[in-house]
Subunit: 329 residues, 2 copies
DNA sequence: ATGAAAGCGCTAACAA
DNA sequence: TTGTTAGCGCTTTCAT
């Protein structure tokens, strides 16, 4: 049979309360009692049952992670940052993939609730309205990483997309770019709005106006990018900015297949900077999002909420860098 | 306050036992009672507390996943397959990264045990001896995916590495290759042995013998591959087989930087076939491991153990394909 | 078909 | 400093 706190108490000739105290580092235990108990714990190879603990204390030391697709480098990089910090604070993470499907998202959320997680991190993708309401009703600590939701009043970690895109677009425009096309993935509307705003600002600062027909919509994968190339050519854009690295590489390769010279005839900039960027030739220019850090900071932020520490800033903005490589002039 | 099974019982004017029965689909409930209870559940928006359930039933419907690094495409592809099947069977997964560090691995395992997971999947990497013993002692269902451990008597899902490498090597040798170098990552010794066996068999079938100095050791990342190129050149190998796609691409790019013509002067074959293979030019030839399927089948296998179904074959071998693309003749 | 009651293994008042 | 005891919210015999 499995050894319980009761066995330890009996062997150490103390009450289970005392064992519980040494387990939880409660200072109100005489050092010699503590030692005695620890010895028995060691001898019996006793390990506390986290489930029982969770039931009694209403804390499970697990946090739920809702993520579109863990096999996507963008999200898994965020997730890795999360997990490292979670581990540091002795939390474990339950991951659920949603493919950005609202139904799956909701199921994931309800599943996590029933598992009594202490908090939830929402990674990337679009948070749908209904889930958002569920979250609010649950009164659970929630942090959103790498995306924005509609009313931006939930704790979050991001970069300043608006500013990043503005900076990039300005530079292209300064360099004489004719027309910038922007390829969005399946991100949140809010995030998209920031980006379009950035684009518009850059244009207007150059006394031009950005036509929304240059906003292209597609999947975040290589194939989607490749398929989009035709549209880009028809639009006669000479710069493409994409959300995902994969899509950027799809565009890039397709363009090269058409003997378009990169970056002279077409410049490509992605917005992720996963390690894919170094694996193509020419190397992909990219807005470097500190993905790992976003995840890590997000988890740290969540621990603050879970421990009811005071949080100075609920909406953390992390710095970005624009890495100009071979696909830009 | 949160609504409990007791509230439902009271409102429905039945005992909590009956509520529990309808919750668990126990047939011994009069249809009209069932309906009454279900109505109340709906009305109160009652959701069972999985922690309490876990404590009472000794089943948590969560499985632990021990993985070297979730931000690695190889592992995250496995993980995605896992999670999809887990979801299908109503399990949730707790993921812990180990970086192949034995200490982290052990901590991860102990953490999962204390969380009372119903089973564990070990994904890739090397399973260290001590953890292996812990696992055996725990009597928990465990499945190993995408790697082999020493005594191959644990349930596992893999491809036939030996055969795959033999086939690939034979083809190179048939094509007049002078010397094949093999680049291993940080995989299990057992797996490595299969691969070296395959290599040796291929050589001996060509009346040659494989010299172990052509086995190169490095990390699984791009940079490691790039750094290895020098060694490969010194060894005068004209074929490189690597475990990871990243490393292969590193070798590839470095070789191209040295104006080595691919595949004429150097052929490169990786062993993963993650979606990176299409993102380099020339496209990377690769032994296609059905990563998603390995994860999915592994999870399915685990559910069988957890439900105490009979398992016909504990060591599943999935088919592989060799995709010859631009980096091989 | 339904209910009563005893746990599951722990935490957290409250007493002492 | 330590022990007693009452739960936490559910499942699961055992009666009825």
């Amino acid at each position: 049979m499995t050894v319980t706190i009761y066995d330890v108490a009996r062997e150490a000739k103390v009450s289970m309360a005392t064992v519980s105290r040494v387990l939880n580092g409660n200072p109100n235990v005489k050092p010699e009692t503590r030692k005695k108990v620890k010895d028995v714990i060691e001898r019996l190879d006793y390990r506390p049952n986290a489930v029982a603990r969770g039931l009694a204390s209403k804390k499970t030391t697990t946090v739920g992670v809702i993520i579109p697709d863990i096999s996507n480098l963008y999200y898994s990089s965020l997730a890795r940052g999360l997990d490292d910090i979670a581990e540091m604070y002795n939390y474990q993470i339950i991951i659920t993939n949603t493919d950005n499907d609202p139904d799956k998202e909701r199921d994931a959320f309800l599943g996590l609730i029933s598992k009594q997680v202490d908090g939830i991190v929402f990674l990337g993708g679009a948070l749908n309205e209904e889930t958002l309401n569920d979250i609010k009703k649950s009164h659970l600590p929630v942090v959103i990483c790498g995306t924005s939701e509609k009313d931006e009043n939930m704790p979050s970690v991001n970069i300043d997309y608006n500013e990043a895109i503005k900076e990039a677009a300005s530079k292209f425009l300064d360099g004489g770019a004719e027309q910038i096309a922007f390829v969005k993935g399946s991100y949140s509307e809010q995030l998209e709005r920031h980006i379009v705003d950035g684009l518009k600002t850059a244009y207007s600062e150059h006394d031009r106006s950005f036509d929304e027909k240059y906003i292209l919509s597609t999947g975040a994968d290589y194939q989607s990018g490749a398929e989009l190339y035709e549209t880009i050519r028809e639009l006669e854009a000479d710069v493409v900015i994409t959300m995902s690295d994969d899509a950027a590489i799809g565009v890039l390769h397709k363009a090269m297949d058409h003997d378009i010279s990169i970056p002279d005839q077409l410049q490509v900039l992605s917005c992720s900077n996963t390690r894919l960027v170094n694996m193509v030739r020419p190397q992909l220019s990219s807005i470097a999002l500190p993905l790992y850090d976003i995840g890590a900071v997000g988890m740290r932020l969540l621990t603050k909420y879970m421990n009811e520490e005071t949080v100075e800033e609920a909406n953390v903005i992390l710095p970005y860098r624009i890495e100009y490589r071979g696909t830009t002039k």
